[in-house]
């Protein structure tokens, strides 16, 4: 939340950015027809708004007054008036209907296509993008920014156009009827506009700072709840409350200020309108006395003073919101135009297809031999993680990576998955630099089990099937059985149709792990990446997971960021990493004999696991 607000500041520029809007208007292109129809509707609406008071003026001057002056009451013009009125009502209602429909359509379709484009682009972006971009930032682009922008470009723009049309037509119309009174009214309009814009900007600014405090308060509530036990044990109640009070006091101060600005704004506008009104009554009244205009015309002009109120406000509102919208537009464009830094070469795409459309027929079968050849790597920011790294792994071998945090385990795994590419050297898969084949080729032969398993909302069935979208129900169940997940799934009331909840929240940690194993085994990958979980699960599940892992690894080249003793002990090759270097390698037996780094790690780290084992 707080990042989002900071970003909002970063992007707020004052100048009109033509380039950005040009890009945004590309999204409007398919909606051109709707936009034109919508604008036509509000144009007609602006005209009916002007005509409405005119009907009454017509009644006063052409029906009522002649009748008062003559002795016979004559209603012959009444049918004409009724006709006018009925036409007016029908046109008015229809235009209101159409204008809402069109504006609503533009808003929704525009937001739809912005979101679609952004989401598709997100899929093309490499993993490094997700590593350095916060989820919240992306979410804000997809939700509030696209909404903001589409609202301004639909309702905002249409309101603006209506306001402008109304003011222009009104001005012309007033000049046609009586230019002196027209000038009187028009003298007030610029003041009205200036005042309105002035206040709108202040109000917007006030609300922005309120939102900022508000997000701080939300954060404070969050700390209040999640840190409750800590607060109690340290007896920090009064101290924390005092800090919270500073925030809420600030909120109160800022909000009251915003209220006061608004409390001044509306009455000021009203008073200006009344100045116009008083002027019209005074000037126009005198004109009625001299016979220059009729009473009906006077009535008409007192109504027209009011008619400037809404359009002026609309224009001021648009003006104030435009800056915000431009900031949203800039952020959306910046997302859409982020260049992916890991892409297939053109000739590779030509042969193997894009990430959305594979040419599977050209995929060579992957055997599973992996080799690092003088690989160096550094992340965009930060130090070099790997230098001149060499490693040869035979097809079907299981490799356990052990070492402290920051030793380079995750980096190696990221490189094998081609989430990142080496900055120097090359990685060969089946003796070919993997950049000569497509990302799709590698990924459709890759299985990945995360340390904290990531499940999607949806049923258990759908989650397992994510490993192979073409799998039948039977195949899914088969996979679940293979990793011992079947029995716990069947214990759920809805079996495989059980909803996992957002992020799999309805499943326990252990269950999530088993489901993610099933997913991986269903994908039947040639290369498997397993980032083992550190979190402890109950003994029973622990045993299931152990058996499942053994099955999972069978017959695949696998790289394991290992935390479990038994997994490490059973792997074909253990690499002890430190500072991006392999400091020891070999089997468990060999390394224990050496009594060096691995031995030390082993005795320190895994004594706790011994305790767990002892309970069985």
């Amino acid at each position: 939340m707080s990042d989002y607000l900071q970003d909002e500041e970063n992007f707020t520029s004052q100048k009109f950015d033509w380039l950005v809007w040009k890009k945004i208007f590309m999204f409007m292109k398919p909606l051109k027809k709707t936009a034109i129809l919508g604008l036509l509707a509000v144009m007609v609406l602006a005209i009916t708004d002007i005509i409405y008071p005119y009907i009454s003026a017509f009644a006063i001057d052409d029906i009522i007054r002649p009748n008062i002056d003559s002795t016979v009451v004559d209603f012959s013009k009444l049918p004409l008036l009724i006709t006018y009125f009925v036409i007016f009502m029908i046109v008015q209602a229809t235009m209101v209907y159409l204008f809402i429909i069109y504006a609503g359509r533009i808003q929704n379709e525009l937001a739809f296509s912005i979101r679609e484009k952004a989401f598709n682009h997100l899929q093309e972006l490499p993993f490094s993008y997700y590593d350095r971009t916060r989820v919240g930032w992306i979410m804000a682009r997809m939700t509030s920014d696209s909404r903001n922008l589409s609202e301004v470009l639909s309702w905002g723009l249409i309101d603006l156009v209506w306001g402008v049309f109304l003011m222009v037509f009104l001005t012309i119309f007033m000049f046609i009827i009586n230019w002196q009174l027209a000038i009187v009214i028009l003298a007030v309009v610029p003041i009205l506009t200036a005042v309105s814009i002035f206040f709108r900007k202040y109000i917007l600014k006030a609300y922005r700072s309120i939102r900022k405090v508000n997000s701080k308060i939300t954060g404070a509530f969050n700390e209040d709840i999640t840190g409750a036990v800590t607060t109690k044990t340290l007896v920090l109640e009064e101290q924390n409350y005092h800090e919270f009070d500073i925030l809420t006091s600030d909120m109160r101060k800022q909000s009251i200020r915003a209220h006061l600005i608004q409390a001044v704004f509306f009455p000021t506008m009203l008073f200006i309108i009344f100045i116009g009104m008083a002027l019209v009554y005074n000037v126009g009244g005198n004109m009625v006395i001299t016979g220059a205009i009729s009473v009906g015309t006077l009535y008409l002009f007192t109504n027209y003073v009011w008619q400037f109120f809404d359009p002026v406000n609309n224009i001021a509102n648009f003006y104030a919101r435009f800056q915000q919208a431009q900031a949203s537009a800039e952020r959306i464009v910046s997302l859409i135009e982020t260049e992916p830094d890991i892409v297939d070469k053109e000739e590779v795409i030509a042969k193997y297809g894009t990430i959305f459309e594979y040419k599977r027929e050209n995929f060579e079968p992957l055997i599973g031999k992996v080799e690092f050849k003088n690989v160096s790597f550094k992340y965009n920011v930060g130090e070099t993680v790997l230098t001149d790294f060499n490693l040869k792994v035979k097809a079907g071998q299981s490799v356990a990576l052990v070492g402290h945090t920051g030793a380079g385990k995750t980096t190696i795994v990221n490189l094998i998955s081609r989430f990142y590419e080496p900055t120097a050297g090359e990685i060969l898969v089946d003796d070919v630099d993997y950049r000569e084949r497509s990302i799709g080729w590698l990924h459709s032969n890759l299985g990945y089990v995360l340390q904290t398993p990531h499940l999607f909302s949806g049923s258990v069935m759908e989650n397992i099937r994510y490993g192979n979208l073409k799998a039948t129900d039977e195949e899914v169940i088969e996979a679940a059985k293979a990793v011992e997940a079947h029995s716990f799934i069947m214990k759920f009331e809805d079996g495989y149709n059980t909803e996992c909840g957002e992020g799999g929240s309805r499943l326990s940690v252990g269950q999530k792990q088993l489901v993610s194993f099933a997913r991986a085994i269903l994908a039947d990958p040639k290369i498997l990446i397993l980032d083992e979980a550190t979190s402890s699960v109950d003994t029973e599940t622990e045993q299931l997971i152990q058996t499942a892992i053994n099955k999972l690894l069978k017959g695949r080249t696998s790289f394991i960021v290992a935390h479990r003793l038994s997994t490490i002990v059973h792997s074909d090759l253990i690499l002890v990493l430190d500072g991006g270097q392999i400091i020891e390698s070999g089997t468990h037996r060999e390394l224990i004999k050496k009594k060096e780094a691995y031995y030390k790690l082993y005795t320190n780290q895994y004594s706790e696991e011994m305790l767990e084992l002892s309970k069985r």
Binding site: A59, I60, I63, Q92, A93, V96, Y97, G104, A111, R115, F119, L122, F127, Y130, M142, T143, T218, G219, A220, F221, E223, D224, I225, A228, V229, V235, L236, N240, S249, M251, S255, I256, H259, L260, A263, P267, L270, F271, F274, M277, Y281, G285, V288, I289, Y299, I355, I439, H443, L446, G447, Y448, H454, I529, I592, K595, T603, E608, M610, L611, L613
Partner: protein, 612 residues
Amino acid sequence: MEDIKKIDKPKRNILKHLWLMFKWMGKHSLLLIPALGSLLIVSYLRTLTPLFGQHIIDVILGDGESKLPVYLTDLIKADTLPKQLLLAALLILLLSFIRALFIFVERGISGLFAEKTAYKLRNNLYKKLRDADYYFQSHSETGDIIQRCTTDVEMYKRFISEQSIEVARLVLLVGFSIYQMSRLNITIMWVSLIIAPILLISAALYFNKVEKMFTEIEKNEAQMTTHVQENVSGARVVKAFANEAYEVEKFRNLNRKYTDSDLRLVKKMAFFWSSTDFLSFIQFFIIAIIGIIYASKEIISIGVYTAFLAYAGNIIWPMRQLGRLVGDFSKTVVSISRLDHIMSNPGEYVGEENKLEPEIKGNVEFKNVSFKFADSKEDQITDISFEAKQGETVAIIGKTGSGKSTLMNLLIRLLDYQKGQILIDGVEIKDIEKHYLRRNVGVILQEPFLFSKSVEENIKISDSTSDLNKVSSVAKIAQVHNDIMNFEKGYQTLVGERGVTLSGGQKQRVAIARMLLKPKPILVFDDSLSAVDTETDIQIRRALQQEWKNSTVFIITHRITTASEADRILVIENGQIKESGKHQDLINRDGLYKNIWAIQSQINFQIEEDGE
């Protein structure tokens, strides 16, 4: 779980909630009096405006009688017509100025009222959450509670300050308009009320129905954003399984579904606004026709006719608004009941005020203590008895869920035992004031919470008077000083949500440093060295033994090496003490502890075997 269900279905006890609504305002509700008073004046002045038109048209420009109140017509009297016009215009200005002034007063005061009330409510909510007992906290979902404290407060605030005032404003406006019309012509007054009820009812029905559509739209939007969220946070999985095309397809469907549901609402909206516009114009139309006929027959004057058109507007346009406010009220009732769930919680400090504050040295005794959670049938802790003398170290060992942590929660009264006694220096802890007790018993949690402040501030939190020297000296004891110095900004590094994410071990060590700043007679390590490696663990404990010789220390641990050095070891299983004694005693006795010990030696044994 039970609580969450109760939350979802708020009881719609309107009277109770109305009472709560006023209760939370407290003395601020007095501000409503000047606000409503101003509103009364504003509304009255507003209904005078059409009468000025009437006066000018009928009296100054015609030869009829004025419908303005006499006290106002007196002010416009003058010998020539232009002078009368000028006076009328000036009076309009004067009255509109007064009206503007009162609008300002009304809005300013109601804003003041709203913010003061909301301020008080927010602070009270904070205190309630802070003081809520362990049970409430462990049974609440953070996201849900935060939603209540923000969105629901906002809803409540808007209702008391804007929506309810809006209702008052509309009712007053309609009332005064009807009053003025009755002074002009009774028949047309009745006629102008024909459509109003229809508008009111159809608006209320419409907004009620639309509410359901909103729920559906929100649901669809949530599904869509969840998909994005999961896609982004699961980017590794998406890419590793090469499912980009599938993701795009799925998103397109959800995006479409959301857009379509919103478009359905747009259609409903378009129909509602255009048809009610049409209805409103029918009302105008009827008044206009009758007005024209009456005016032609000179039953009413032209000025009165124009006034009627204005009053009709005053009545018709607010009706849809009023209909919407009816819907808002029911939403507010839901918010109030959601807030009440927090506000009605008494908290754990009720009745603590006059309890004892004895000197605490550190002799702790558990006497046949049993405890069970309110919502469970079985005891969590059964008949626990042991003693710890001042300066002793007691290790508690046992597997997850055995009740080790509960034991310590009882000691600082996060939970209260049902049977037995816990005595500190002979005083039962239930008689000791909670804050005082916790100030003397320091607990370091397994997953300590760090506040989003700098590392220095986080450590200083337990004693704000200490300087950086003192802070770094405790950080050294806790073996976290070097880690901190490795951060770019050292002790000024921000941690928590907005700053650096510390590893579990670093957090634990910062929490230890934080606790060490102020000496405490009793200290509890609730598995708070679990994420620290064995060597560091040993170093920390060595340092502690020197610095805190006189404190009684409880160490909950998984590590046998840690436990072995304690003066007494308690082995807990299923809420009971299974074994107790010194390390040497326990390894000579059959049991869990000996087993663990054996396995530990086995590692060495295995290594030797491998080595041969």
